[in-house]
Symmetry: D2
C-alpha cells in the first residue's frame, strides 16, 4: 500500500495502550501516528522543541481521518509509516498506516498546519525544513 | 450546527488532557467523544460493561473523521454533543462536536460497529438497545 | 478513613481509563487524584490557568505514594477525596483516596510544591490561596 | 545510584507525554516504569500476554512510591532502569529510575503481585519465570 520508500517507525504495544476490550484503545493510534511523524521530522534533522524555541512555530493537526481495520493487542510490535502526500507552504498532508507484519491495522490521513505557537495563526513552514521536506 | 435535541455531555479540561503546546492534545478529543457516547448510551439505560457480559457484544469504532477548528485549554468547561446520523442493524454513524460556550472547537463523524467481544466479528446491535436508539 | 469534611469529586470510569487486564490502568489513579485536587482548588475560587498567568506560579507533585487495594472497572462511579495534611509556605501534603461506594480502592499521599513556571524554582504559595487553604 | 548491571530501557518523550506546564505529566512516569518492566520481563523470554493466556496469571502493582526530582521535556531521550530489590513467591519489589544522561529525573519503588487474572487473588509467580528472575 505504501511505497517501500515510506518512513517507518517501530513501536511496541504496552498495557497503557490497551483498554478493557483487550485491544489498543482507538485514540491511541493517533499517538502512534504522531510518534512516527515526530521521528520522521527528526530524520530530517528537525526537532520540534528546537523549532518552537527558534522560530516560535509549531505543527498542529487540523484534520484527521482514521480507518480502523484490525485491532492491535498487548505485546504486538507495530510499524508506523509516514508518507507525505502534499507539502504546501504552511500546511501538509500525510498518509500514515500502522502495520503488524504485512497487515495494515489502521490507516490515517492527517492534515497538518504550521502555526505561531502563541497566537495559533498560520505560519509558513520554516524555510530550511520546507527545503528538506520537498527536496 | 447541532439540533437542540442533540445529547450533550459536560466535561472539564485537566492537566492530563493538555500538552506542551499549551492546548488539549489532539488524540484526547477522541476520549471526549467517547465519554459523551458512553453517557448517551447510558441515558438509554444501557451500560457497556453489562452489554459485554450479557450479550458478548461490544461497540468498536471503525472510522473516525475529526476536524480541529480551535484549541481547548486547561480549565475550559466543554460540552460534547452526540447526534446519531444513521442507525443500522450492526453499525451506526454518529456526528459529534466539542463546544466551548457557543463555539465549536472540534467536530467528529464516527462510524461504530457492534462486534462479538471475542472474535471481533460483526454482530447485530442487541434488540432492546436498537429499539431505544431508533424510537 | 477520611473525615466527613474531606472534599470529594465524583467521576466515571470510561474505556480510556481501563487496560487489557479489564481494570483501571495503575497510572490513571494519578489522573483521578489530580482532577480532584484541581476541583478542590477551584472550590476555593482558584483556577490554575489563572494562577500561572497572574503569578507565574504552578503546583507540581514532588512525591507520591500510592496503595492499590481493589481494582476499579469500566462504568464504575468513583469518588475521589482530598484531605490536606500539612500546608506549608511553598508546599503541601495531601491525603487522597478513590472510593467506590464505601470501599477504598486506592490511597495516595501526595506532596506538592509551588514553583516558578519558568525556572521550576520553589515559590511561596500566592498569599490569597494560602489564606484560603489554611483558614 | 543503580548498579551498572541494572536493566535499562530507552525511550523518547513525545507530545502525548507532556502537559501544559511544558514538562512530562506526572502520571506518565508510571507508564515509563511499566514499559521498562515489561521489556525487562521480555528479556527473560517472558511475554505478559502469553503468561495471561497460558497461566491465567497477571502482574499488578500494589504499591508505588515515586520521587520527582527534575522535569523531563519534549524530545528528551530517557533511560529507564529496573533493579529487582526483593523477589518473593507471589510478589516482588523493584527499584526504578528515569535518567536523562547522568541525571536521575524520577525514582520509583514499585511493589508487584502476581494474581489470577479472573479473581485477582494472589498467585505464585509461574515457576519458570521465578527461576529466571532469581538465578
Amino acid at each position: 500500500m505504501h511505497e517501500p520508500a515510506a518512513f517507518s517507525h517501530a513501536l511496541r504495544v504496552y498495557w497503557e495502550d490497551t483498554d478493557a476490550g483487550g485491544i489498543v484503545y482507538y485514540a491511541n493510534y493517533l499517538k502512534f501516528f504522531e510518534r512516527a511523524r515526530t521521528e520522521w521530522l527528526r530524520a530530517f534533522g528537525h526537532g520540534q522543541q528546537a523549532m518552537a524555541e527558534a522560530e516560535g512555530a509549531m505543527f498542529v493537526v487540523t484534520d484527521a481521518r482514521i480507518r480502523y481495520l484490525h485491532p492491535a493487542r498487548l505485546d504486538d510490535t507495530l510499524r508506523v509509516t509516514v508518507q507525505p502526500v502534499d507539502i504546501g507552504r504552511a500546511s501538509m498532508q500525510i498518509a500514515q498506516a500502522v502495520w503488524r507484519d504485512t497487515t495494515v491495522l489502521c490507516e490515517g490521513q492527517i492534515q497538518i498546519a504550521c502555526v505561531d505557537r502563541g497566537t495559533f495563526r498560520p505560519l509558513r513552514i520554516p524555510t530550511d525544513i520546507l527545503a528538506r521536506l520537498t527536496e
